[in-house]
């Protein structure tokens, strides 16, 4: 189980699983977006997240002696996934999808920036690349928050509803525990205080121009990083893993 893993593997899986699960969620939307341009955009976002997941899973696979990234992605059970509960939230309407994307982007951009200075060179290299990608994602999601939040009465109502839906899962993006302490001492994992400060600044600035507000309800749902997920992750994994589980090791 989780506690038997080397801390570095746990750390890598937390990053990888955020990206893998989000890539799968975004993939569900391909061919269903309201406009062709957004369909292409969502596929590109999904591909970037999948690429990031593959890089971190590949490293984790080497450390654990697992055969490869595919096996880690396709044979772990729900409780072994360490993604934040944010990324498993269902797509909902476009406002909810963009709210989720914005929160993830606003977290990942400064997170990867800090991770690019990691003492682990391999992690630093992947993070340096991923940072550029997530900054670009953030431009995209921010522009939609502004356009919808500062748009018509109806678009504002639905964008704010999307924010309200996703807000209770924000803190779980930053959730950490003792497993990562030594990694931080060793300079492998970043300090999250600065990452959170940058996230808060982004939220304040974008919400101001988008006329959106932070929900008053302080409730936050935690646990994803320790494998405690919502009811939404299981069905997602069942769909994602069904082919591989039916035909282990399959490739095409």
């Amino acid at each position: 189980m989780i506690d038997e893993r080397p801390p570095l593997v746990t750390f890598l899986l937390r990053i990888a699983d955020d990206n893998l699960v989000l890539a799968q969620r975004l993939g569900e939307l391909i061919s269903w977006m309201p406009e062709l341009e957004e369909d292409i955009a969502i596929a590109n976002l999904s591909l970037d997240h999948l690429g990031q997941a593959t890089a971190f899973l590949g490293y984790a696979a080497e450390l654990t002696g697992t055969s490869d990234a595919d096996q880690l992605a396709m044979t772990r059970n729900e409780r072994e996934f360490l993604n934040s509960v944010m990324v498993e939230r269902p797509n909902g309407d476009f406002g909810q999808t963009m709210a989720r994307q914005f929160f993830v982007d606003a977290y990942q951009a400064p997170f990867y920036r800090a991770l690019a200075d990691s003492a682990d060179e391999r992690i630093a290299g992947v993070a340096a690349k991923a940072e550029k990608e997530s900054r670009y994602h953030l431009e995209y999601s921010s522009s939609w928050l502004t356009r919808l939040g500062d748009g018509t009465e109806e678009s504002h109502r639905r964008m704010q509803a999307g924010i309200d839906q996703m807000w209770p899962f924000v803190d779980d993006l930053f959730a950490t525990d003792d497993i990562e302490i030594q990694l931080r001492v060793d300079g492998i994992a970043p300090e999250l205080v600065d990452v959170r400060r940058s996230f808060d600044e982004t939220v304040t600035n974008v919400f101001a121009s988008a006329r959106l507000s932070v929900p008053a309800d302080p409730y936050q749902r935690l646990g994803g990083r320790r494998g405690f997920h919502s009811e939404h992750l299981g069905p997602l994994l069942a769909e994602m893993q069904s082919l591989y589980r039916a035909m282990p090791g399959v490739s095409w």
């Binding site: 955009a41 970037d48 593959t54 290299g125």
Partner: protein, 161 residues
């Protein structure tokens, strides 16, 4: 390992000619993703770097590189280097010219004292600088979609990254 001596400079030149599968007008040398071709005790090590983490072309390029090595009867491996991260500034001037002639607006330089926003993107058809962004994302991870406001043609822009 095979004892055949290979000229690393020639080998590098040949590997560098491998076309990018998504933008075939560019070679991997033009793109700047071929890092090094070196000899090691285990054979030739060809180091390439991904443009985007999820770029589906990387696997294809890896196979092409191994094909070139096989043609020379040398053993070798392809190594993937993430750091330092690839940037469009690594694209050669020849590559930029080829892109423009192919109908894709080349990336503007990132390492410049003036803000990148102030450098206009020209239409590859009519050279007008009066163009607008249609979509930040395009047909491949490395491109965005724009439109020329003079000749009205839509075109791809190899985005700065």
């Amino acid at each position: 390992m095979n004892s055949t001596r290979v000229d690393l400079v020639e080998l590098r030149a040949e590997i560098g000619e491998i076309p990018d599968p998504e933008v075939p007008v560019l070679t991997i040398a033009d793109l700047g993703i071929l890092r090094s071709v070196e000899e090691s005790p285990e054979g030739i090590v060809v180091t390439i770097t991904p443009t985007y983490s999820g770029c589906p072309a990387m696997h294809h390029i890896e196979q092409e590189v191994l094909g070139v090595l096989a043609a020379h009867h040398v053993e070798g491996v392809v190594a993937m280097a993430f750091s330092p991260a690839w940037s469009t500034d690594w694209m050669t001037d020849v590559g930029r010219e080829k892109l423009g002639a192919y109908g894709i607006a080349p990336p503007r330089p990132l390492e410049t004292s003036i803000s990148i926003r102030q450098v206009k993107i020209s239409c590859p058809q009519c050279s007008s600088t009066d163009t607008e962004l249609i979509n930040r994302f395009g047909s491949t991870a490395c491109k965005s979609l724009r439109r020329c406001l003079d000749c009205l043609e839509p075109f791809d822009h190899f985005k700065e990254f």
